[in-house]
C-alpha cells in the first residue's frame, strides 16, 4: 500500500520534472516544526531529512511563477543533491492536517527561466496533497499494526479476535500454538473450528457446552471460565469488543495451571499437619461442618475415636525427638490404614489423633477400633536398628446431630471420647473404651 502510493508520488514528481525541464523535483512532507522529509524524489537519489524553518520558502506567496534561488535559503541537503547551484525554485504548497507545510519543490539549475508550461504545475497541488495524505495514513496504519502486533505477541496469553462482521479472525502466536493453526488473519470459520475442537478435548467439556449454550442468545455476553485440558488448565475469558458484540469478540486464553497448582499446594499446606501428613484439627472441623450441612446429616449417627499413644513421652526421652517424630508418622500411617476410606482422620496435637466415622453399626465400630488398636500393638516399630514396642489407648463416643446443637456436636463427641480415653488409660492402657459403656460400667 505504502509502496504503491510512493510509486504514484514518484511518477508525479517525474512528470513535473520532465514537463517543466526541472533538474530536481521533491515531494516533501513538512510538519508544523518545519521538519521536512522527502517522500519522493525525481530523479531518484538519496536525500536526508532537513529543516526548512529558515528557508524563507514559507514567507513567499507562491503562485505559478518560479523565483530566483538567491531569494531563498535552501537546505544544504537539497543544494548538494543538485549537480550545480540552483537558479530557479518553485514550491507548490500541498498542506495536510498533520504536515501543514508539505508540498512539491521544483528546482532548476539552468540560467534560463523555466518553460511556460510551469504555470500549470500548481494544478498538481491537489493530487500531491491527496497522495501525501494517503501515504501518511498508510504509514500510520502500518505503524499501528506493527505496534498492535508487537503488543499481541508481548502479552502472555493466547488471543483470538473475531471481527464484528463475522468474516475474519486474528490469532496471535500463543493462540495459534494452542489451536494448532498459524498466527495471523484467518477466515472466521477456520478459527472457530479449531476452537470448538479444543473445547471438545476438554475434561470439563459438558460443563463448558452447557455454560456457552446458555449465552448463545446474547451476542454481548462475557464469560470467564476454566478449560481443563489434561494436565493443563486455561482461564478462558471471552467478551465483546468494547462491550458490543456487533463490533467483534475477543477470546483470551491464559495458562493458569501453575497458579492453580500453587493455590492447591497452599490450601493443602494450610489443612495438613506437617509432621505426619494427616489432616490438622482445623481442617477436620471444617470438613465435619461441611458434612453436617449435607441433607439428612443431622439424623445420622457419628462416632469419634480419640487415639493416644501410650507412654509416648518415654520414647522421646529415651530415643530423642527425631525417633519420636518418626514413630508419630508411622502411627498415623497405621491408623489411616486401619480406618475405612471415608473416615476422617487428623492429628489432634502431641501424640493424640482423632478419627470421625459416619454411621457405623455398633459391631462395626468396635471392630474398627480394635483393628486400629491391634495395628499399633501388633508389631513393634522399627527405626534404624531400634525396635520399639508401642500401644495406643482409644476412647469412643457416638451420637447423632439431634443430641446437641450443630455448633457443639463435634466438640461434645470429642469431649466424651476424651473421657472414655481417660478411662482406657486408667484401666491399664492398650485398650478401647466406649463412652456409653464406661458410663454404664461406672
Amino acid at each position: 500500500m505504502t509502496a504503491s502510493i510512493s510509486e504514484a508520488l514518484y511518477e508525479l514528481c517525474g512528470f513535473a520534472r520532465v514537463s517543466c525541464e526541472a533538474e530536481l523535483v521533491v515531494a516533501l512532507e513538512v510538519d508544523a516544526g518545519y521538519r521536512a522529509s522527502a517522500v519522493a524524489v525525481s530523479p531518484t537519489l538519496p536525500l536526508s531529512s532537513f529543516n526548512l524553518r529558515n528557508s524563507r520558502i514559507f514567507e513567499h506567496a507562491w503562485a505559478s511563477a518560479p523565483v530566483s534561488a538567491s531569494e531563498l535559503r535552501l537546505p544544504s541537503a537539497v543544494i548538494n543533491a543538485l549537480p550545480a547551484l540552483p537558479t530557479f525554485v518553485l514550491f507548490v504548497p500541498a498542506g495536510l492536517d498533520h504536515a501543514p507545510y508539505s508540498g512539491l519543490l521544483l528546482l532548476w539549475t539552468a540560467p534560463d527561466a523555466p518553460p511556460p508550461l510551469v504555470r500549470h504545475v500548481p494544478l498538481l497541488a491537489g493530487s500531491v496533497a491527496s497522495a501525501l495524505g494517503r501515504r501518511r495514513e498508510a504509514v500510520r496504519q502500518a505503524a499501528i499494526r506493527d505496534q498492535f502486533n508487537d503488543l499481541l505477541e508481548s502479552v502472555p496469553a493466547g488471543i483470538v479476535v473475531f471481527d464484528g462482521d463475522g468474516h475474519g479472525a486474528m490469532v496471535n502466536e500463543r493462540a495459534a500454538r494452542l489451536l494448532s493453526t498459524e498466527p495471523g488473519r484467518h477466515e472466521a470459520s477456520d478459527v472457530a473450528e479449531p476452537m470448538r475442537m479444543l473445547r471438545e478435548r476438554c475434561d470439563n467439556r459438558k460443563e463448558l457446552d452447557a455454560l456457552y449454550e446458555g449465552h448463545m442468545a446474547n451476542v454481548h455476553y462475557s464469560v470467564t471460565t476454566h478449560w481443563m485440558l489434561g494436565e493443563r488448565t486455561y482461564e478462558v475469558d471471552t467478551h465483546p469488543v468494547h462491550g458490543d458484540g456487533e463490533r467483534g469478540r475477543i477470546w483470551l486464553f491464559s495458562d493458569v495451571t501453575a497458579e492453580l497448582r500453587m493455590a492447591a499446594n497452599l490450601r493443602k499446606m494450610a489443612e495438613t499437619d506437617p509432621l505426619t501428613g494427616a489432616a490438622n484439627r482445623r481442617s477436620l472441623e471444617s470438613e465435619f461442618a461441611r458434612i453436617m450441612k449435607t441433607p439428612g446429616a443431622r439424623d445420622r449417627a457419628f462416632s469419634v475415636l480419640m487415639v493416644d499413644v501410650d507412654h509416648f513421652k518415654q520414647i522421646n526421652d529415651t530415643h530423642g525427638h527425631s525417633v519420636g517424630d518418626e514413630v508419630l508418622r508411622k502411627v498415623a500411617a497405621r491408623c489411616r490404614t486401619a480406618l475405612r476410606e471415608g473416615d476422617l482422620f487428623a492429628r489432634f496435637g502431641g501424640e493424640e489423633f482423632v478419627a470421625v466415622l459416619a454411621a457405623p453399626q455398633e459391631a462395626e465400630l468396635t471392630a474398627i477400633a480394635e483393628r486400629l488398636r491391634r495395628s499399633i500393638a501388633g508389631s513393634a516399630f522399627r527405626s534404624g536398628t531400634l525396635s520399639i514396642p508401642l500401644t495406643v489407648s482409644v476412647g469412643i463416643a457416638s451420637g447423632t446431630g439431634r443430641d446437641a446443637p450443630p455448633a457443639s456436636f463435634l466438640a461434645t463427641l470429642i469431649e466424651q471420647a476424651d473421657d472414655a480415653l481417660y478411662a482406657a488409660k486408667q484401666s491399664g492402657r492398650n485398650r478401647v473404651v466406649s463412652y456409653t459403656r464406661q458410663r454404664l460400667a461406672g
Binding site: F50, N51, N54, R73, S76, N80
Partner: protein
C-alpha cells in the same frame, strides 16, 4: 546553530575573520594550543558544536543533526547571524566536511577552508578506501551503546594515537561531557556519511592536514581529497593520531604559516 547558545568565543586582533570548528569528542577548548597563532593574525571565532561542550544536550536536536547537511545548514545560519563572511574556516574531523558542504551552497561565506583529519566517507567500498567496514562500525556502535564510559576510556587513547597524557585526558573529557545517546547518534551520523560529492564541489582553496597514522582517516583518504577536490593541498604531519592540533600544534602551525601567509593582509 546560534553563536551565543553554543558558548561562542571571539578573540584575536586581526582584521580577517577565522572560524574554528572542532570535531567529534572535543569542544572549542581543543583549539587552545593553536589559538595564539590565529589570535595574532585573525579576528577569531570559535564555538561548541551542538551536543558538545557544557550543556551540550540542550543544543542538540536529533532530527536536525541527523546528517552532516543539517550541521552545514546550522553553520550557515550561525555565520549569517554573526555577520561572518569571507572567512578562513578551520574544521577538524566532522567539522571539515560540514564546512565543505556549507561552502558548496554559500561560497560567499568562505575564503579558504583548512581541514584537519578530514574524511568524506569512512566506509570502504570498491575503488575507495575509507578505513572501515560495516562490521567495524556495527561493533563500534554496539560497544558505545553497551557501555559508553568503558568505550570512551578505550577509544580516547586510540584516537589520540600518541602517548600524550594531556591530549588523552582532554579528549576523554570531551567524550565524557557528551550525553551517551547524543554521542552515539553523532558518531552514527559521521561514520555513515558519504559527502564525497560535496567535497568535489568545494569552490574555495582547501588546505588538508593529516597525520601519517590516523586511526580514523587512512592516508588514502587524504590522497583522495587532494586528488578529487578542485583546489586542495595536502600536508602530512609525520606523527600519529587524529588530533594533531592537540598533539603536534607546532607542526600544524608550520603548515599554516606555509599556506596562509599570503591570505593575511
Amino acid at each position: 546553530m546560534n553563536f551565543d547558545e553554543l558558548h561562542g568565543r571571539r578573540s584575536g586582533g586581526g582584521k580577517c575573520k577565522a572560524v574554528l570548528s572542532h570535531g567529534f569528542g572535543t569542544d572549542q577548548d581543543a583549539w587552545s594550543a593553536l589559538r595564539p597563532w590565529f589570535d595574532e593574525r585573525y579576528d577569531v571565532y570559535s564555538f561548541d558544536l551542538p551536543g558538545c561542550g557544557r550543556g551540550g544536550d540542550k543544543t542538540y536536536d536529533f532530527e536536525r543533526y541527523d546528517s552532516l547537511y543539517g550541521y552545514a545548514d546550522g553553520l550557515i545560519d550561525l555565520l549569517d547571524q554573526t555577520g561572518i563572511d569571507d572567512c578562513l574556516y578551520v574544521g577538524h574531523s566532522m567539522s571539515a566536511m560540514i564546512g565543505a558542504i556549507a561552502s558548496v551552497g554559500r561560497p560567499d561565506l568562505f575564503s579558504r577552508i583548512v581541514m584537519i583529519g578530514a574524511s568524506p566517507r569512512y566506509l570502504n567500498e570498491p575503488g575507495y578506501v575509507g578505513g572501515f567496514d560495516a562490521t567495524d562500525l556495527d561493533a563500534l556502535f554496539d560497544s558505545m551503546a553497551a557501555n559508553y564510559q568503558a568505550w570512551a576510556a578505550g577509544f580516547a587513547p586510540l584516537v589520540v594515537g600518541v602517548d600524550d597524557a594531556h591530549a588523552v585526558s582532554e579528549f576523554s573529557r570531551g567524550l565524557f561531557q557528551m550525553r551517551p545517546d547524543i554521542a552515539l547518534h553523532t558518531s552514527r551520523t559521521i561514520f555513515t556519511s558519504d559527502v564525497r560529492n560535496a567535497a568535489r564541489r568545494v569552490p574555495v582553496p582547501v588546505t588538508l592536514i593529516q597525520t601519517a597514522n590516523d586511526v580514523a582517516v587512512p592516508r588514502e583518504v587524504g590522497a583522495w581529497l587532494a586528488r578529487e577536490m578542485k583546489d586542495a593541498t595536502l600536508d602530512i604531519i609525520d606523527a600519529s593520531g587524529h588530533l594533531p592540533h592537540l598533539t603536534a600544534p607546532d607542526a600544524v602551525m608550520r603548515i599554516l604559516d606555509k599556506h596562509l601567509q599570503g591570505d593575511v593582509p
